[in-house]
Structure formats: C-alpha cells, structure tokens
C-alpha cells in the first residue's frame, strides 16, 4: 500500500492535468468554486500517487467519483484508492487489490482543528485504553474507519466506540462494525490514519 501527503500548493490550479473522464465527472458534479478546486487537487494527487504505486510517471488511469462520492480508478478494478482533504493538505492511500473486496481508507485531520475536534469528540461515546491519542489523531482514526466501512458520520452518534492502541503507530477501533486496526502518523501540522481491509 502507498500512503502519501501532498501540499495543496503543489496541486492547485492544475485542471490541465485532468483526464477527459475526470473533466466530464467534474462538469457533472456542478461543484461550487472551492469544492471544485478541492476536487481537482484530489484527482491530481490521486494520479500522482497511482503513478508512484504503478511505477509510471504519467499513469493514464482516470480517478473519477463513485456514486457515493468516493474516488474510483476508472477501468482499474484492481486498484483501491482513498483521498482526504483538509486545509493545506491532500492525503492519498492506494493499493493493488489482493481480493475483489480489498478496500483502503485514509483520513487527515489538520492540527488547526484540535480545539474544535476535542469538543466534537466530547459529544461521542468513546472509551479509550492506554495512552490517549490526540483529538486530531482520534478523529482521523474514526473517520478512516467510517470510510473503510462506508458508514456515514451518523454512525458515530449512537455508537459505543472503543479505542485501544496496539503498537506505537496502530490503534484498534471497536464499535463501528467488526474491530479494525488503523495505522496512524502525526506531525505538528496534521494527524493521519489509514487502514486496509480485505
């Protein structure tokens, strides 16, 4: 699996790099200006990441939106890709599928959201063991599982969520379907969480 984070400055304004299929998808979406810019940045980031994964500097694969809005590598069912945008960052996780159901998910939480996220986490029912994660790391881990399981944010409201660090960089999450292990990383700028499930 490949996990990478791009600075939005590298990606913004590069609509010229979109494939024809991506342009069509963008037109159909009828986004507002900001969402449109975010979508373009995400596709450019996704294709760069796929280039690294596939060893191809200019992969021809198009990254379009599934009906759910999730990114999908058009015509490449052997690839699973996940995107996360926040502030100045775009995170991408991509993998070659070992099985048809293999799915990857990633979430990035900008460190600037720490106070806000702490308040939101206070609304949820979360039992933690071991050293507590930072609010942003907790949020990224939860969002990662929601994406992995294709659950909406509503799933968090009535769930009894368990968080148990397994190793320094992994945490097990229960209460949102079967327990799942999320890998995490944190910098002074953001927290990142990703997972793959077959």
């Amino acid at each position: 699996m490949l996990v990478t984070v791009f600075d939005r400055e590298e990606l913004d304004g590069r609509e010229d790099l979109l494939t024809r299929a991506e342009r069509r998808c963008l037109v159909d979406a009828r986004f507002g200006a900001r969402r449109r810019a975010e979508w373009i940045a995400g596709r450019v980031a996704a294709r760069r990441a796929l280039g690294r994964l596939l060893g191809d500097d200019a992969p021809s694969v198009s990254v379009v939106s599934a009906p759910s809005g999730a990114p999908r590598a058009l015509g490449r069912p052997d690839l699973s890709i996940s995107l996360s945008h926040d502030g100045a960052w775009v995170a991408v996780a991509a993998t070659r599928r070992q099985r048809r159901r293999t799915r990857v998910a990633i979430d990035l939480c900008d460190a600037r959201h720490e106070d806000r996220v702490r308040r939101l986490l206070g609304r949820l029912s979360i039992d933690g063991t071991g050293d507590p994660l930072s609010p942003c790391a907790t949020w990224a881990a939860l969002e990662c599982i929601l994406k992995l399981r294709r659950l909406g944010i509503a799933s968090l409201l009535d769930a009894r969520i368990g968080l148990s660090p397994v190793e320094a960089d992994t945490v097990q999450i229960s209460g949102l379907g079967a327990s799942a292990t999320v890998t995490r990383a944190e910098t002074e700028n953001f927290a990142l969480a990703w997972a793959v499930e077959a």
Binding site: G32, H85, R116, I153
Partner: protein, 89 residues
Amino acid sequence: MPVAIDDLRKLVVAAAPDSALALPVETCPEDQPLDGVIPFSSVIVLGVVVAIEDRYRLRVTKEMLAKAVVGGVTLRRLATMIDAALETP
C-alpha cells in the same frame, strides 16, 4: 413553529473550521446539497449536529441524521429534521 432556514445558515457557517470558506452557505438555495457548496466535511456535519443540539435543546440520533443526509445534506433537510424532533413529545 418551523425552523428558520436563515438561522441554520448561521449555524453551519459557525460550525465550519474556516468560517470564511463556509460563507457561500449564507446565500445558497435551501435545497442545494451543501457538499457542493462548501467542503462539507464530517467535522462540519458533526459540528452542525452539536450546534443544533445546543440551539434547539434536542438530541440528534443516528436515525435522524442518517435520514437528513440521504441524497446530500441540504438546509431544508436539516430544518425538516429539527422540526420533526421538536414535534416529537
């Protein structure tokens, strides 16, 4: 009394991590999915839930929110969700 859409607009803007980015919500059509108006992240969605709970003194359940987000969260769907919750004894 029906929830005022303009009141909801203010709640959404205030719930956004960057209020400036959320300003288009102040003028968008009430049936337009907010995901197409602003980067309507989960942080904003849950922030709106918490703000609604505080403002209207109600508890938003998983079922209520799940129903409101089908087809994309709009201001009208949020208002309908709140109205239904306020009418429930």
